[in-house]
Symmetry: C2
Subunit: 677 residues, 2 copies
């Protein structure tokens, strides 16, 4: 790291705040509300700016030795129109009412950085020096460490969903800002975009403006050969306003953008897409229309030619020399743009009493969510608003109560889980405590990549999955989510919880709402008895507080430990009863928090010397694995047996499915006896 | 299980083969090639059959106490048209030239089972008795354990992609069969369908016939309220033939189906969709148009009413009594319909010599794949054909060589990873050894759920991901696949491999082609030195054979063990050199097979007493975790240190990214020294 540290010092010395001023210029702004077309002066200034940006793009990519000049240059004109006329402010780049500009084809980072640099969101030269240099903010795909960047992108097809979220957030907050999404044309092949299109129409997101860079080329070549698509027609079919323009005609681009911005469209209440016919590499002769330059850097001679064409001095050698001084690794010292956090009122916990009969965790969740809506979504209240999102499963995930008391904050996305996942992430980022609920397989297996991207974006999503595990019942293996510990533990920022009964679910849900950062909660479908203390009181009732990383010793014991969570707590307690009758002293510990895991509880269990884990999850990648890992890391010798799902499940009643997987109370008791034998 | 076993005996006794005959009837068949419309006799027979099937649907769902009658009844007419006129044979339900009938909205299993039962693919009564009974083949969502079912579905939006694969497979084999896909209307909201539509048009899948059950209701109610969509227009825009019909007019349905079947459409070279306006619950008065019956069973009184309407005797009480005798769990004893396996010629391994300079694993893969194409795709050769699929990354994943020598077997899907994943799975199932290659994040994080469904379908896919880990380089965190061990180890059927250099990649690729079942291979992007033996020969050259579950001791040692794989093998060997110079004897073991993992190697390493794992993967869910698990399970006390990716990576050159994550040779050597100190 030393080298990195030193080189960083050099950078800091080199780029004194003042130096930016030395290359300052009159930044060209256009009053979009007043001006319906560009003046000659606008044309001249923007054209000058374009040439200067094109030069930076060529330099930047050459200096890094890699990057994407082609799309940067084809999108450049629209970037200039947006940053000259939209409500963005380099002096205060993160103010709440700014227009959100989301660049979904994040690989055009050189284009974005060149424009932001010229508009002094940061020192132009810093981007030239640090583009794609490890440790810097100027990544290969746009990242929010760079002032002016709204969303980390790079995986194509997600930006429009994020833009829908910002547009929706703006409407919730009184329509104070616009949401502008830039996309590539190859990107339009991604299915998630068809989901986002429908969403934009259903919710009349008239403040959503999409731009498509129709340069006709993707990595493999001609877009029409790789995968033919009728882009404009697809948006028209979905009910959008479609404006087709020459993407290199600044006047036409501005008029189209303005029409959309001030809603002078055929359907003023609908979103608008600007489909811009462009030329890849536009503005640098040898790059124009050459797919090769989608993702390849020009060499020194080519940059010389480019700068000559653009009427710029060739300072490449000097820049190279400077960049060499930075070494190959910088120390990260930029601040990322993270989810907005506002205070949450968690309301008053409910307690489900023993004599109330069996209750499903879903009901505990639904009631707690309704309470959160009640407490936080009152008109005029300061603090966070709570949002609930369902994917055509409102009743199954028990969101009816929340829907009823928070109609403005309930969102039905239809069967569009990919879109819903990104939508929820960006909405949480905009400051809404966002609960997204669907079945486990759709929340986790289907939406995983969208959650991974949310996590990289430092969101604050609360992903709550119902119908997890064998506990989905008769729907069968395609609906059995048995991999969620493995998957949702993987993204660095996610915490992973699972409630044992409605009482723990109530407290867990409220704690989750108040936690900063991403949380995944998994629960089954069935009604389960209230878990009680030895003397029959609700174990998770009264003043029980859920704490991440803390397991619950529901029963103490000296011979062996039953480790469980969620739907296996009740069978574990039944097994414990049978074992007690057989004269064995067995503890039952509930791991309601899977990540972080309670290492102290595992140490204590290891001290007892025999651990049987039982879980409604694939047995090779769940709680049993986590326990074995801790034992292995700490060199704790302890006899263990793992019970869990060892093959794809059947379709039937839950007790039968548990029995088939060797997880019935009798099987659990037998496993303990065998381990102790 | 005893209860299950006994009950199964009862079943077997009850359903003697003969008994089916007792309720035999003249099965109604229509010669679609000759007959352009239904006769009065066809109408009468199919209408009788419809009433009988409707009765079975009501019975089946009531007996199980759950299920989906609504959509079963709205799709019923088309199911009857298909099974009466398509090329399907109850006596030989799995013959190679049969038409493939894929039911994507798998929850209409009662409808499917009722029709298949009447057409004697199995004993009608068995489905009534065993529907949604744990251990039986008659799952809540259609499964291939049931004769006549082509594909396990239930997660909506994937069936059309599977149907595209069968249609493509038919064209590859001379166009011997049709591919028919039934879908729901709510399902049309899924983005993957837009990807499959484009694919069907690009490849002129004129033998693909889709049916959409437009009953206007989804779980949440009116489809137009939940998420408005212009279904017919979306297919027209994509270039399909669209036939709109009354889905309960048998004559109109037949004519539409025939038009599509014999290609008497406006665009005979394009796929056709039949959009059928239907009524949920059609044929049972109180269910008609009631969303409640999407997924709720009628009670006894309602079944009585239904059977009366349908002119059938009410035998519900007797059936219930019989079903009770089965207990709640059957012993699985049905055979599933699995991927077709044909012999593969793995060709002659290539060896990359030390003096040939650094080579990337991608090149090793690309050359081996080209060899496999050369060896297996010759005209007239018996045995398997090898297929290669790319998602607009042909050059990056090095498929050019294969594309060149196997043009008919190379498929470019565009940037449509969800579709590509299902397409590849079903193509492999049709008997093609299918290699799907893209970057790690798209192969794993984006396509995970499709691979999970492939695995449940017993496919034979070879998913080969390039650009994994920090080794993706400057593309940054959104492109860094650091979770693939956690994700791809989760599905029960997948094996997980990662090559250390081009030589191991060559042998691994050939072994993967010949292995039966699903395989995931992960590799980085960079060129790496050839891994050598102590005396400088290629370690993985010559007669080295890759074996799943076998680790490679590249260096032996007595003080400590460096555990690594893929891109960390070279830095580990460099560290080992430094440590040797410092007088320490350190072994280097390469885990090219992550699943299955080599437990003997871990035991041996534990015997040495100190293990430092280093991996280009999230450190909390990769090789280090797998090793700790084995240690924990076996109670082996051993000092361990884990090195790996501990936070989202930066965007820069690979050595810098490794350094930033503490995985440089120096950092590795220091970790070993510290552990031994």
């Amino acid at each position: 790291m030393d080298q990195g540290l030193e080189s960083r010092k050099i950078v800091l010395l080199y780029f004194l705040p003042g130096t930016a001023a030395t290359e300052d210029r009159a930044l060209h702004r256009i009053a979009i509300s007043k001006q319906d077309q560009l003046t000659d002066q606008d044309h001249k200034s923007l054209s000058d700016l374009r040439r200067s940006c094109a030069g930076d793009i060529a330099r930047m990519v050459n200096l890094a030795g890699c990057g994407h000049p082609g799309g940067s240059l084809s999108t450049l004109d629209f970037l200039l129109i947006v940053y000259s006329s939209a409500n963005v402010d380099a002096k205060n780049p993160r103010n709440e009412t700014r227009d959100r500009v989301i660049v979904s084809h994040g690989h055009i980072s050189p284009g974005v950085y060149s424009v932001l640099g010229h508009y002094q969101f940061f020192d132009r030269k810093e981007a030239l020096m640090q583009f794609r240099l490890a440790g810097s903010a100027y990544s290969g795909h746009v990242e929010t460490g760079v002032k002016g960047v709204e969303w980390n992108t790079g995986n194509l097809g997600q930006g429009l969903s994020a833009g829908c979220a910002s547009a929706y957030a703006s409407k919730l907050s009184g329509g104070s800002f616009k949401s502008i999404v830039l996309m590539g044309d190859g990107e339009q092949q991604k299915g998630q975009i068809s989901e986002a299109r429908r969403f934009g129409t259903k919710f009349n997101l008239s403040n959503l403006i999409a731009y498509i860079d129709l340069n006709g080329l993707q990595i493999g070549g001609d877009t029409n050969k790789i995968m033919p698509q009728a882009i404009s027609e697809e948006y028209r079919t979905a009910g959008w306003n479609v404006l087709e323009v020459d993407g290199h005609d600044l006047g036409a681009l501005y008029s189209a953008f303005r029409k959309a911005y001030v809603n002078e469209t055929e359907q003023p209440d609908k979103p608008t897409v600007i489909v811009a016919k462009t030329i890849m590499g536009k503005g640098i002769s040898f790059m124009e229309g050459d797919a090769h330059f989608h993702g390849v850097a020009p060499n020194d001679e080519q940059v010389a030619t480019a700068l000559k064409e653009l009427g710029q001095e060739n300072d490449l050698a000097a820049l190279k020399a400077e960049r060499k001084t930075l070494g190959h690794l910088l120390k990260r010292d930029f601040d990322e743009f993270e989810a907005r956090m506002l205070p949450v009122d968690t309301g008053t916990p409910r307690t489900y009493e023993v004599d109330g009969g069996n209750v499903d965790c879903r009901t505990g969740y639904g009631n707690a969510l309704a309470d959160l809506g009640e407490a936080n979504n009152k008109k005029g209240r300061d603090g966070a608003r709570v949002v609930g999102i369902s994917c055509d499963l409102e009743g199954s995930v028990k969101m009816q109560g929340f829907h009823k008391n928070s109609p403005d904050y309930y969102i039905e996305t239809g069967i569009q889980e990919h879109h819903a996942a990104t939508l929820a992430g960006r909405l949480s980022w905009e400051g809404y405590v966002t609960f997204l609920s669907t079945f486990g397989v759709f929340a986790v297996a289907e939406g995983y990549n969208q959650q991974r991207l949310n996590d990289i974006n430092h969101t604050n999503i609360k992903l709550v999955a119902t119908h997890c595990g064998m506990d989905v019942g008769e729907d069968g293996p395609t609906h059995q989510s048995i991999d969620w510990i493995a998957l949702m533990s993987s993204p660095f920022g996610f915490k992973v919880f699972s409630p044992a009964d409605a009482n723990q679910c109530d407290r867990m849900t409220r704690a989750t709402a108040a936690l900063h950062g991403n949380v995944f909660m998994a629960m089954g479908r069935s009604k389960v008895p209230v878990v009680t203390t030895e003397d029959g009181k609700p174990f998770f009732g009264g003043d029980y507080v859920f704490e991440p990383g803390k397991a619950d010793w529901i029963r103490e014991g000296t011979d062996a430990v039953l480790a469980c969570f969620g739907p296996t707590v009740v069978p574990a307690l039944e097994a414990q009863k049978q074992l007690t009758a057989a004269g064995k002293s067995v503890a039952v510990v509930n791991f309601g928090s899977l990540k972080p895991i309670d290492r102290d509880a595992i140490r204590k269990a290891a001290g007892i010397g025999a651990i049987v884990s039982v879980e409604d999850h694939a047995v090779h990648c769940g709680l049993g694995s986590l326990i074995a890992q801790v034992l292995g890391e700490e060199g704790l010798a302890c006899k263990t047996t793992r019970l869990g799902v060892s093959r794809y499940g059947a379709s039937g009643k839950v007790p039968a499915l548990f029995e088939e997987q060797g997880m019935s109370p009798e099987a659990i008791a037998k496993a303990v006896s065998d381990l102790l034998a």
